[in-house]
């Protein structure tokens, strides 16, 4: 793993009932890189992110992040180490307000006693406002998250990740279900928050991918089919075949 690598996935495999969802995959993310993963449905994209963030345990292989072996850690430990995950279906805390969703994502004293005596001081409030502004939710702070539109929930979940201040963001289809206008705003947002962080984004929308990706990896049946710049990947005959064939 070179100096500039933040994430190194090597020989990673997982199978569900004998079916290999990820098959001896090598996958690297550099610092400050926006790395997009594409591939047909069922290619194993979501499963890859699940393993990096600890949701699914790999059957073989290693996941190195800043000198840590993530495959041996629990989800909350991985999160605390600086990996943030956004899920394919937006998952926010629906019974809490937007402000409270942001508040509990603040990475400070995440133990019961610390939480009992936690106060929303000026620093926390300022951070909550800054993030809410970034994800276009300033006017929704006191609404229950359950009442937000689908697109707003996507934004809130991104906002919750930003509160956590992770070094590596894992985003699973962040613009799915969004209108054209929302997609555009989200693209801008992602570029803005990418500064100083690394990101792995799963996305189907080729226009969107083109506009944000530094590097693209194509997955197919749990294996890497191609990797490189968007142009190179798009002109790869094997990629064309998979996409046309499916």
């Amino acid at each position: 793993m070179s100096q500039r690598m933040i994430l190194g996935v090597e020989d990673l495999s997982v199978s569900f009932d004998g079916f290999k969802a990820i098959d001896a995959l090598n996958f690297y993310v550099e610092e400050k890189e926006i790395h997009v993963v594409i591939g047909p449905n069922g290619a194993g994209k979501t499963t890859l992110l699940d393993m990096i963030c600890g949701k699914t345990k790999p059957s073989a292989g290693s996941i190195r992040f800043k000198g840590l072996n993530l495959e041996r850690m629990l989800e909350y430990q991985i999160t605390r180490a600086g990996v943030g995950r956004k899920f394919q279906n937006p998952t926010v805390y629906e019974d809490l307000t937007v402000a409270e969703n942001l508040e509990i994502s603040y990475p400070h004293k995440r133990n019961p006693l610390g939480c009992l005596f936690f106060r929303r001081d000026a620093v926390v409030l300022e951070e909550m406002r800054r993030i809410a502004d970034l994800v276009f939710l300033t006017d929704e702070m006191n609404r229950k998250a359950g009442q937000l539109s689908h697109g707003q929930k996507q934004w809130l979940e991104i906002g919750m990740l930003l509160m956590q201040d992770p070094q590596l963001l894992l985003l699973d289809e962040p613009v799915a279900g969004m209108s054209a206008r929302e997609r555009e705003r989200t693209g801008e947002l992602l570029k803005r928050i990418a500064e100083g962080r690394s990101m792995v984004i799963i996305e189907h929308d080729m226009e969107f991918v083109k506009s944000v990706a530094h590097k693209v990896t194509v997955l197919h049946q749990g294996k890497k089919l191609a990797e490189g710049s968007m142009d190179r990947v798009q002109n790869d005959p094997r990629v064309i075949e998979v996409y046309l064939g499916s």
Partner: protein
């Protein structure tokens, strides 16, 4: 606005008009006022409860009836704990009787040792060592077991009432939740434990008093607990501690801990990716609920003068859940009314219709969660919101 008078004028219709300084926006004032009254309105329920418990009930009831209410208040501690664990933490415990029982027995152990050392006849059996409680000698236990000995000290027994049950609850819950076992499985485990707890107490008659429990406990710290005066004192102590317990519960729910609990209840798997260990949080709230129950149990022994396995098993544990369900599982205060109402109704009706009462309780347990998820408290807030909107 130090020292300066607010300029007030009358407009054309003789209405008061406040002329604001340039830097104060009218909405900010109305918001401050609204927040102020809002905060006051939030205090109403606890103030009303305090008035009912500390003024109305003691004034209205003769000592015998007051003693009964005092008993219901003991179970209200369990109901308040269940609001935290079940209503907010999503942990439906069917074994709160265990912790009620532990609190009750610890208090009884202290009082029994006090009674024994005050009784000259008991010293005869001690054979030089510390005096041995009567029920032990009846069961041929002739020396005081080592684990009984520390409970002769009030400085040990009182903290133990809170610490032992909550430590046990924490260890048990953390071990289970860490394995990601939860929901209905945890409920079944707690129910099984409640039944085992009772079996152990009954089986170890020489150390626990068996089915009869621990009886003949006339004093606490030398004061009689049986006089009419004591009935009043203990009632006020119970009511006061209950109100403190509710305030503590409110503090928990208002803090970030309360919000994390709601998040865990609704989306436990997501919370891990916010960097929290849900098992730890659930175990802690379960331990707090256990501590509340144990305090109720200790007060029960003080007021009724005995500890018995009959208040530790599955049936009383489920009754506690019914109090909370009826009062409102999201309302600390509602659950107290639930305990008072059901407890009162039980005393009134169960003597005449013993079997009928059990069916009625069973029906409540099914009907309330189905049709009134938030219990009486939910009903009250529904009605009062309608009123506010109508006015």
């Amino acid at each position: 606005m130090k020292g300066s008078k607010l300029p007030i004028a009358c407009d054309a219709d003789n209405r008061l008009e406040v002329v604001l300084p340039d830097n104060v926006h009218p909405t900010s004032i109305s918001r401050t006022v609204r927040l102020g009254t809002e905060r006051l309105r939030r205090l109403y329920p606890i103030v009303i409860l305090a008035i009912v418990l500390l003024l109305v009930i003691p004034a209205a009831l003769e000592p015998f009836r007051l003693g009964l209410v005092g008993k219901y208040l003991c179970f209200a501690f369990c109901a308040v704990g269940l609001v935290l664990a079940w209503g907010y933490g999503g942990i439906l415990s069917l074994g709160q009787g265990i912790f009620f029982g532990l609190g009750s027995y610890i208090m009884a152990m202290y009082m029994k040792l006090e009674a024994t050392s005050a009784d000259p006849a008991a010293a005869v059996f001690g054979a030089g060592g510390p005096p041995v409680p009567d029920f032990m000698t009846w069961n041929s236990v002739d020396t005081l077991p080592w684990w009984w000995a520390p409970f002769e000290h009030v400085w040990f027994a009182l903290p133990a009432i809170v610490l032992l049950p909550s430590a046990a609850a924490f260890a048990l819950a953390y071990a289970i939740f860490r394995k990601r076992i939860g929901g209905i499985y945890f409920s079944i485990v707690t129910m099984a434990l409640a039944s085992i707890f009772v079996l152990v107490i009954i089986g170890q008659q020489g150390y626990t008093g068996g089915t009869n429990g621990i009886t003949n406990l006339p004093t606490f710290l030398g004061y009689s607990v049986q006089s009419d005066q004591a009935v009043y004192t203990l009632y006020y102590v119970s009511a006061g501690l209950l109100i403190l317990t509710i305030l503590a519960g409110t503090f928990v729910l208002k803090s970030r801990l309360g919000k994390v609990l709601i998040a865990i209840r609704d989306q436990e798997d997501r919370v891990r990716f916010s960097g929290y260990d849900p098992a730890m949080f659930k175990a802690v709230i379960f331990a707090i609920a256990a501590a509340f129950s144990a305090v109720g149990g200790a007060l029960f022994t003080l007021q009724l003068g005995f500890a018995s396995p009959s208040i530790s098993g599955i049936a009383p544990s489920i009754e506690m859940v019914i109090y909370t369900a009826v009062g409102g599982r999201l309302s600390l205060i509602g659950s107290v009314y639930g305990a008072l109402l059901i407890g009162g109704a039980k005393s009134l009706f169960s003597e005449q219709f013993t079997n009928g009462w059990m069916y009625f309780m069973g029906a409540l347990f099914i009907v309330i969660p189905m049709f009134l998820r938030t219990g009486l408290a939910g009903l009250v807030s529904l009605v009062s919101h309608k009123k506010v909107r109508a006015s």
